[in-house]
Symmetry: D2
Subunit: 402 residues, 4 copies
């Protein structure tokens, strides 16, 4: 047992920390100013492209991707880097081409795509020239269980025809989001876990209509393409757009879940660290009753609790990454659920305290806190509500004694 | 001791409940559609004026205002009505001319205004022809303690000249908000509680610049005039615009606090009731694992806890109203603090659970829950953060044994 | 709606408060000293009899009992008195002959007993000459649902024969506990709520064996007769010992539940008030870091939260008492469940904070806090665990929308 | 970074787990029966000696002690073993001669004792022939800060004379507790951290009076020597009984704190694991409403939360042990505080849930849960209340930004 980062991780951490300090944090106010003055609400502020160029130049690119196509890091090596990116969640991941849902989509294409699919979509994604979306969640069913998905993908000659309604499809409003991986049923009467397939749908395919941007506590998240409600009405794509074989959709979605959650959780921890830093800095300078907030017992309690909880969370996420590397995603299933249960809720609590220490500024657009909070809160629902994961984890625990 | 509503209250409750069912709830989707399609983001949707006309016709008008100018109800009689209005917080209070901050402003003008001030501003406010704002909070100081306010109101011949910066001035972006009550210091070197004055500043007075709308977790609350940041630079108004005498500003602000908090808390309880109703209705129809959410133990726990907490909160707020009626705002000081501490936090908790029961819909614009949550959360900071009130209440408790 | 105590209540409160100050609190150290030096661990310290004589002389006697046999108070009038007694839970209720389970037993005998039963058992109980027990809970079943009870009460000629095992039968180890009301099934095959009966079993009836005293977190509660495990093996009593008619046991047990819970909850609130007082007093004199605990923000937070929660709880319990008086126990069912859910948990939280403020002394025998805590904690289980009540209350809430 | 146990740890774990199954758990009922029937309440049940003999035979002896005198394990290697012992906290540590406060006392003697002191006291302690106590905490001061200690150790010729009052001196009532390490001031006017010394006081030294056993929520913990209040009145011991040099007491006490807390925390985690196991087993067989508790959502929530929290806690404690091994106790200071803050509170929460799942049995003497709870709760105060550690940790965090 050893709690030190290995040399590769340490080196990447140093370089990434330096990049955050020198480029990413300074770009935050620029980013917000560009957003406010943008002609097209859904376009990405130009500063993001500048950051991407710089990150790529520095070799801080596609760090999330194992194997030949990416940086070749393990989950355990990448996790501490995702945390650092998460400190500036609108810029850090995007600058390094490590932003969801592109990450998962690239993984899927790298692992399951045909050569043609990889050439057409993976390549520009790896180069950061386009963005992508993953269309799974539906408003009408509890989508955390992928077997509930109702969208139909029906074979018709050399094509597949898609019908269904999706929502909260992140990134889809971004005009540069060129490709959608759509999950649906090719065989609704087949065995429960073999009914689903994933299929590639290029933007502007007739029959696919982006209806509106969904909100998250007042935020439309326009800066990274929002969260679209999308209607598929007889949307037709060639049969070769199917990823892997018909019926493999559920298995593919499982494969992307583990890394996706690790990434989310590590970024959340970075967000928590950002919140603690802001809480400390504010507490040191604000003196509501003649002495700094930093000397008030209640604020000290918040800071201490935040630190203690973050340390525990990080270790659990790192151990989970290590398990995924050593025994595989399946072997790490319980731990993946555990971090999904623990991280958003804990981080939400920490950010709430940081907000409270800021007074009205905390809920405003003048600090990142309110937006960070909304991100953390929504992750208690995304990929399945906490309660679903708790139920599943408890059943596994109970089985040990049954 | 008697826990039954009196006849006047019961009668008003019945009439108000009927009005909510027949007019207010049906107007909600209209209101949101009009907001989305409005040319001017900050204008009020026309349906609000229709509701106002109907409420006035029904005698459901100015219910908050005791004495000759209003409905003449006691705090205890009004409180259950404010709760009902709060179930639809964007429409209920506005429809009945009982919306903050007009309510407090009308109280101040009715009690402290000169005949000329009342004629010019109270009258149109009572008739619902204009709206108003109360400009107290400042970004640079802990404004919960009014003695910290830094804005200067300096006598200059027959005028007063105002300099300072305010923010989170609710309602100010609404073009129909015609009058601002501004709090500042006329005597910065006087005794601590006699430095402040309140003064009337009409919209469009030169020197007063509305800089921007502040956000609350992504919401700009444009539907009721937002929350403005306002800059006063040598803003000049006639000396007769001062309310009451110079140095009376702190006392006046204290007078408006008690009723204001009762109103806020009762509306919050109405919001909590709305959330519980939505949680129950959703739980009865959503069946994520083959049986309704309503039969899941965890959801039952949320519903039961919500009910138990609401019942306790309501009684404490009602008792506080009764105390204000019987021993005055000063005598009810501890209870007013207690409801300010307990209500926003508890209601926030309840709404959070209702959100969780809704999945992604809960954080979206498709239910009122996310917006209700943001309102409740921000009230843990507005009028002073919880911690300030806890500190003060604890000290009073400790004095009993010192 | 009126939150003032009526004249009768106020007068009794004043007299009871005076009695507590002049006699009960001063008797606490005497009581503990007598307990430590007692020859028989299960006998009651003599100071209790002295307090009883004094309380009776002052007319502070049987206050809990409505109707001719007792003081004739309503639930709403008695509740604030039970709170005051609860401040010294080992002495206050016992001194005034208002201690559980005698209270419930006297209610049952007064309402359902035959003249002979009342003469033999109610009379000496009313006079405080003997104590009693109520034997319902069983180790082998979830006894919160009385229909689960497994003990058999079988008719055999002119007798009933009892077989079964009970535990946590409070007061039973006290040698002066002369009569047991035992709950069991006379008709195990009858309709579900008519299988049960209650029957009187005098101490020392052959076949009834008191096996041992059960503990509550290390406490055996010897001062008031402990909590016995009792074995009934062919325990035979005359048929006229049955209370009311065969099959009425469930209905009788329901009748005693409402008042019993009100009493428990009000005493708990008194315990919470005691804890807050101790926390405040300690905080004012203990100066761990050069300034009193009372000036530490965290302790102030505890005190404020405690006050705010107590005020809410008390109002809900009082309203429930009022409902029982005005619409009956059945009409107050939801509220009775609500106070059962809210009170023990909240009071436990408050006492925990008071303990924390006392350091090691808080968990010791040198303050009443640890023992108060154990009482509050065990009431989250007694009369059914919180979760059972939450489930039931939630279902009722859901029915409003089904 | 590597989360696997090393070979030494794995081997010891296997052997210890086997010993627990084959000998320790089966001894628990014997232990309790012997306690109940013991003539001397404070003597140790004979089964403990049998377990010690067996453990020693198996080489499971003095595992806690690094270096030549003990098993030579690192903190990181020992921690998982302490967790296993903690599953049976009355027997596991005692059986393996790894019970507090002997562990700390042996460490102190091994590191700071003279050869004579080691021969006289360390040797029999290492062999498990005697027990020992550490007399630091005082009723009159906040003892978590050792500089507050008021007991005086005054040089008088060739002796030291001790005067003061101690309490909660664990193990002291055990007649086999032969030696006390007493902390006090030899130089009350010296520099703040050089006033204290530690000195050896053999049992039965004149002037040392054991006054009484202190309670912890009703428990006197007689099975391992209780928690004594001790009065020192002109208690005289030879000067050579002083440990190390005069003024070194504070430094020595700091040296023992780190390992002591690691041990406490790991044992607590073992207690939590025991509680979860009991909760699961109970939930699988108890069927209060026609289906097992294990299928109730609320119980599943408890089990899942418990698992998620334990996993996080364990990792933080292990990392802390690793830090102590790699950068020393000083370098691990923040983490040691963090585990002290997090562990008792979290474990207390878990045990509380297990209690709730057991109903009345949970608070009784029939499961270990109530006693485990009391141990966990008291550790939120022992070695300083949580709040002290939070304050200190927060200040360190704030310094990063000051």
């Amino acid at each position: 047992m050893d709690f030190a980062y290995d040399a590769v991780t340490s080196s990447f951490r140093d370089r990434l920390l330096e990049f955050m300090e020198s480029h990413v944090y300074p770009a935050e106010p620029v980013f917000h100013a560009q957003l406010l003055s943008a002609a097209d609400r859904w376009s990405v502020p130009p500063v993001v492209e500048e950051l991407k160029a710089e990150a790529r130049r520095r070799g801080l690119w596609n760090l999330f991707l194992p194997g030949e196509h990416g940086a070749g890091l393990t989950n355990l090596q990448y996790a501490p880097l995702a945390e650092i990116m998460g400190r500036s969640p609108n810029l850090g991941p995007a600058a390094t081409n490590c932003a969801a849902p592109d990450t998962g989509n690239m993984e899927v294409l790298a692992e399951f795509g045909t050569e043609a699919q990889r050439k057409e979509w993976l390549e520009p994604l790896l180069e950061g020239r386009i963005r992508s979306a993953f269309a799974m969640t539906e408003p009408d069913v509890a989508s955390s269980d992928a077997t509930n998905i109702g969208t139909l993908i029906t074979r018709d000659g050399d094509d597949y025809v898609i019908n269904g309604r999706k929502w909260y499809i992140s990134g889809a409003m971004n005009p540069n989001c060129k490709i959608f991986i759509v999950m649906g049923k090719t065989d609704p009467d087949g065995p429960r876990h073999q009914q689903q397939s994933q299929i590639l749908v290029p933007r502007d395919t007739p029959g696919m209509t982006i209806k509106r941007g969904m909100h998250v506590f007042g935020y439309d998240d326009a800066d990274h393409g929002g969260h679209a409600e999308i209607l598929f009405e007889n949307c037709r794509v060639p049969a070769e757009n199917l990823i892997s074989t018909p019926g493999s959709g559920f298995a593919i979605s499982q494969a992307r879940l583990g890394p996706g959650r690790i990434h989310h959780c590590m970024r959340l921890i970075g967000m928590a660290e950002r919140a603690v830093e802001l809480m400390c800095r504010r507490s040191l300078v604000r003196t509501p009753f003649g002495k700094p907030l930093a000397e008030q017992g209640v604020v000290q309690e918040w800071i201490a609790e935040s630190r203690v909880r973050i340390e525990q969370l990080r270790l659990l996420v790192l151990k989970t990454a290590w398990l995924m590397d050593t025994v595989g995603n399946r072997g790490a299933h319980t731990e993946i659920q555990a971090i999904k249960i623990a991280t958003p809720e804990t981080v939400q609590w920490i950010i709430d305290k940081a907000i409270q220490a800021h007074g009205a500024a905390g809920v405003s657009q003048d600090t990142p806190l309110a937006e960070l909070w909304a991100k953390a809160r929504s992750l208690r629902l995304a990929d399945g509500p906490d309660e679903v994961h708790k139920r599943s984890l408890a059943r596994r625990e109970l089985k040990r004694y049954a």
